[in-house]
């Protein structure tokens, strides 16, 4: 306590040094005078009295020194001196300081901003209890590695497994909610009773679902999401126990989820209801062959994901033997919940982090070489200070202080930029996508990010302190005093600096190759064959209230009238409906079987879509054979089907599929349909996936209250959307509409396109900066070398060397470095791009065009960077050059 207090006062004493010393001087003066007076009173002469007083006081200077040392903290005081000196040094060379700080903060900002994303998406665990033991559990089939579970399979998996402490399932659903402003379609999730318990989430208000509450026999209950509670129920606590109507059914509110709760794959869900398997018109739940559920499980202690997967696969195999009809080829998939939630962006984020890291490395290399040049020119100053008695340690400390100061300034600037950058990047993510990335919500300067930044800063500080210290090895110091002794050091620096430049150019090559490949891959993605014309198409989701349109005929009639009204709108050239919009996903599949062909129980899995008659003409998809559906083809007409070309190629190679008949796996009479047409491979899957064989059924032969509108207009499709909505509501106020969009937007803002575009742009940006920094580095090395060789060049010219020859000599030096850098870079990128394979689309990682283009670009950049100093070398006046030294 006492010691601490003394230390603090000593530390504080550093800042009031001048005043305290003045004080002490007058205190000593008073002391002397009193002593002298006393001595004189005792009879001494004035001179004797003074001498005696001084002797008794001891050496005045030593007293002052002892007092001074006691008054302050000497370590901190030297540090303070060093800091002030360092600051003066940095301010004296604003060019150097600004360049170094800008380069470094650029590197820091880029890597910290990207790291913030990596941290949010990959490092921060899910907001659930012990997220490491949570896994995503699904079935898996040949065409879909993560296929949905069927309810009977789920029940068996739950009963038979030995790996899960608990296993629950969920599935999305839509509810029409009556609101004062009309009917609104809302999103719901049907879950089994233990869902929240498995996640380890407790409701904020009310209770979790009881065990057994998900059975059909139990009363219907609902838990609200926090935002729904706030938005629709005004955050009133009394809502618990109240009854609400969802799609015409009464539900009792039993709880409200906390604000912090999020569920990435279905984050727009407002109402969490229990499964009630088989309730209402829902027959899918009861069929083992109908797959609509996703499982989430908590592993037992000590059970690995691999063990759980093996366990689940074994159960799936057993079920396959038990139920060959429905479970043939159905195996299992178990992966960590984190992977399931953030899966596709992981490789891209890591790629970006690597890119930012390389940029940071280039920035560090550049700053280090700047420091080298500078320490070179300070050789004399260091030598003088050494000769005046500064210890090597003290001199080294000066460099450390300068390095730390530089890094500190850059880090602060870099951090501020990083905060803005990450916020800006966040704003670039489309809102619809951000909803499914709730983990990005709290992105910013948290503990991890600050630690990461601190680690970078420490690393940079070490590099920058060591660079000049190593450069000015202290043995050489005395040499610095003698004239013209910098020859050897100059050569040393040229070697180190030149190697650094090669490294820089190599990194720039790697980044440029990466950016080139990603750019090319994005181009391919956007130019993937859609087999329809995506422009001028408005899209909209429609939900008819099930209570009002309970019978199939009612749905068909309502849809026909609705489509007629829409088709009559001004500007609309054609309107159609489909169960699933194009360019969304492979999924909504069905198993098919052909009449008159041997069948071994194998599942022929194909995409299944229900469309209205003019769907293909609206999309402008080509008919290859046969015919399109007729407008009046409903349940009263023979059942027909149109297949895509992939289907024809796979199941009818070299045959004519028209007239062939197909049905479900049991060939039940009502499932038999005749193939009447073959269309082009309309892109149903997302852009980077293969389009599966697909079947199209007339929507009126299998009516559904949910469908998507696709409307082609001759005018601006965006302007049509409000008219569409109002037309539908004029028809029936009870119809829900949502997801108003356009086809172009759907494609442009699809997750695949977004991820490819953003990674191409970001890596491209890093590459451009790396190129710029690499050029600056090369320029610096060549310019410095010219400066060092002024005299030599002067001699050469005096001896008759031509200016062009000098210029060529300098250019050759730059060219050699650049060539080396490019070659090393190309070799490295060969390895690096192999890791890119998973994010590339339609491009080989060893793409000759890209590599050649990058090499050419770099050669041009290198020539430009060495041209300027070469010109300067060529314009050296030999007479002045020889006199200069």
């Amino acid at each position: 306590m006492k010691k601490l207090r003394a230390a603090l006062r000593r530390f504080a004493g550093m800042f009031s040094r001048g005043r305290r010393e003045e004080d002490f001087a007058s205190e000593l003066e008073g002391h002397l005078q009193m002593h002298i007076e006393d001595n004189m009173r005792a009879g001494m002469t004035a001179e004797e009295a003074r001498r005696d007083a001084l002797v008794k006081l001891g050496g005045m200077e030593r007293t002052r020194q002892a007092y001074r040392e006691r008054g302050t903290a000497p370590f901190f005081e030297t540090l303070w001196q060093d800091l002030r000196f360092a600051l003066r040094q940095l301010l004296k060379n604003p060019g150097f300081t600004i360049t170094a700080v800008l380069m470094l903060s650029l590197g820091i900002a880029a890597s910290v901003a990207i790291f913030a994303f990596v941290d949010a998406a990959l490092l921060k665990p899910l907001p659930y209890e012990d997220p490491r033991s949570l896994v995503d559990v699904t079935e898996s089939v040949a065409v879909l590695p993560h296929a949905n579970l069927s309810y009977p399979d789920y029940l068996d998996w739950k009963k038979m497994n030995h790996s899960f402490r608990s296993l629950d399932v969920y599935t999305g659903t839509g509810y029409l909610l009556d609101t004062p402003s009309g009917v609104e379609p809302t999103q719901g999730l049907r879950v089994t009773d233990g869902f929240f318990h498995t996640l380890g989430v407790l409701p904020l208000l009310g209770r979790d679902f009881y065990s057994g509450e998900d059975l059909l026999s139990a009363p219907r209950t609902v838990i609200l999401s926090y935002s729904t509670w706030q938005k629709r129920f005004g955050g009133r606590k009394e809502v618990v126990g109240q009854s609400i109507s969802l799609s015409g059914m009464p539900y009792t509110i039993v709880g409200v989820l906390p604000d912090s709760f999020e569920f990435a794959p279905r984050n727009t869900v407002e109402f969490w209801t229990t499964m009630h398997a088989g309730g209402g018109a829902n027959t899918c739940d009861l069929r083992r062959s109908c797959h609509g559920l996703v499982g989430v499980a908590r592993l037992k202690d000590g059970v690995s994901i691999a063990a759980a997967l093996a366990d689940t696969k074994a159960i799936a195999q057993q079920l396959e033997r038990q139920y060959p009809d429905s479970n043939r080829g159905q195996t299992a998939a178990v992966e960590s919940l984190t992977d399931a939630f953030v899966g596709d962006i992981r490789p891209i984020l890591l790629l970006l982090l690597a890119g930012a890291g390389l940029l940071l490395l280039i920035a560090c290399v550049n700053v280090a070489s700047l420091l080298l040049v500078r320490s070179e020119s300070r050789r004399r100053e260091i030598a003088v200070r050494g000769a005046l008695g500064a210890s090597p340690l003290r001199l080294a400390r000066q460099f450390v202080t300068e390095g730390v100061l530089l890094v500190l300034g850059s880090s602060l600037l870099g951090l501020v930029c990083a905060v803005f950058t990450s916020q800006a990047l966040l704003r670039l993510i489309p809102k619809d996508m951000l909803v499914h990335m709730p983990y990005l919500r709290g992105i910013g300067m948290n503990f991890h990010v600050v630690c990461f930044a601190a680690a970078i800063a420490v690393m940079a500080a070490v590099i920058f302190s060591l660079t000049p210290i190593v450069q000015l090895s202290f043995g050489e110091m005395r040499e610095g005093l003698t004239e013209g002794s910098r020859g050897s050091a100059g050569v040393l620096w040229r070697k180190v600096g030149a190697n650094l430049t090669v490294l820089e150019l190599a990194i720039a090559t790697v980044l440029l190759v990466g950016a080139g490949l990603l750019g090319k891959s994005f181009y391919h993605l956007l130019h993937v064959e859609l087999n329809f014309q995506p422009d001028h198409l408005a899209t909209l989701s429609v939900a008819l209230p099930e209570k009002v349109y309970a019978k199939d005929e009612q749905v068909v009639a309502a849809r026909r009238q609705l489509m007629d009204r829409i088709a009559a709108l001004p500007g609309v050239t054609s309107a159609a409906a489909t169960s699933q919009l194009p360019v969304t996903m492979n999924g909504n599949t069905e198993w098919v079987r052909f009449v008159g062909r041997p069948y071994n129980g194998e599942h022929n899995e194909v995409n299944e879509r229900d469309i209205t008659a003019n769907y293909f003409t609206t999309l402008k998809t080509r008919l290859i054979r046969g015919r399109f559906f007729n407008a009046d083809e409903d349940a009263t007409k023979p059942r027909v089907v149109i297949i895509n070309e992939a289907f024809a190629k796979l199941y009818f190679p070299g045959q004519d599929p028209l007239g062939a008949r197909m049905g479900d796996t049991t060939l039940s009479t009502k499932s038999i349909k005749e193939i009447v047409g073959v269309v082009d491979d309309l892109r149903e899957s997302s852009l980077d996936e293969k389009t599966l064989p697909a079947v199209y059924y007339p929507a009126d032969q299998s009516p559904d209250v949910y469908f998507n509108l696709v409307v082609r207009t001759s005018q601006d499709e965006n302007a049509l959307l409000p008219t569409l909505v109002s037309t539908i509501h004029q028809f029936d106020r009870g119809i829900g509409t949502s997801e108003e969009s356009t086809m172009m937007l759907n494609i442009d803002e699809s997750q695949t396109a977004y991820l490819h575009r953003s990674s191409a742009w970001l890596v491209g940006g890093f590459a451009a900066l790396a190129l710029l920094l690499g050029m600056i580095g090369l320029y610096g090395v060549i310019a410095y070398s010219v400066g060092q060789r002024t005299r030599e060049i002067g001699v050469r010219m005096a001896l008759g060397a031509q200016r062009e020859m000098v210029q060529r000599m300098i250019m050759r030096e730059g060219g050699r470095l650049a060539a080396l850098g490019i070659v090393v870079g190309l070799v490295c990128s060969l390895g690096v791009t192999l890791t890119l394979r998973s994010v590339l689309f339609g491009v080989q990682s060893w793409d000759v065009g890209t590599l050649a283009g990058v090499a050419l670009l770099l050669v041009a950049a290198a020539l430009l960077a060495s041209y300027v100093p070469a010109r300067r070398a060529a314009s050296i006046n030999p007479v002045e050059a020889l006199r200069a030294e």
Binding site: K56, A66, R70
Partner: protein, 114 residues
């Protein structure tokens, strides 16, 4: 001039504090003189060493200082004991007495082995 003893390591602070306790406020020169007088002029005190010691005591909070006017009208810095200082005297006096007592027992023991 006879041989004078140097001030023992670590005792100067206690002497200063004790002086201030008995004399009240005092300036540096006064403290130095007083210590010498109290020792019966046996101790040789380098007056200069007193000042870092005073500064240390002040930093530790045992004393406080204030500018004032000396008895012969000179501007001087006066030092005064604080509560922390009084406690320190008690503690260090105890320590010192214990040490001397132990040492005394040893000295007696070697003189008189019985």
């Amino acid at each position: 001039m006879g041989e004078k003893a140097d001030v023992w390591q670590g005792t100067l602070a206690l002497m200063v504090l004790k002086t201030l306790e008995s004399m009240g406020e005092l300036h540096g020169y006064g403290i130095a003189r007083r210590i010498e007088q109290t020792s019966g002029d046996v101790l040789s005190l380098n007056y200069g060493t007193l000042y870092p010691a005073l500064l240390k005591l002040e930093q530790e909070g045992a004393i406080v200082s204030e500018w004032g006017v000396s008895e012969n009208n000179r501007r001087a810095k006066f030092y005064k004991l604080t509560r922390v200082g009084r406690k320190q005297i008690e503690r260090e006096t105890d320590n010192w007495e214990q040490t001397t007592a132990i040492l005394a027992r040893f000295l007696r023991g070697t003189e008189d082995p019985a």
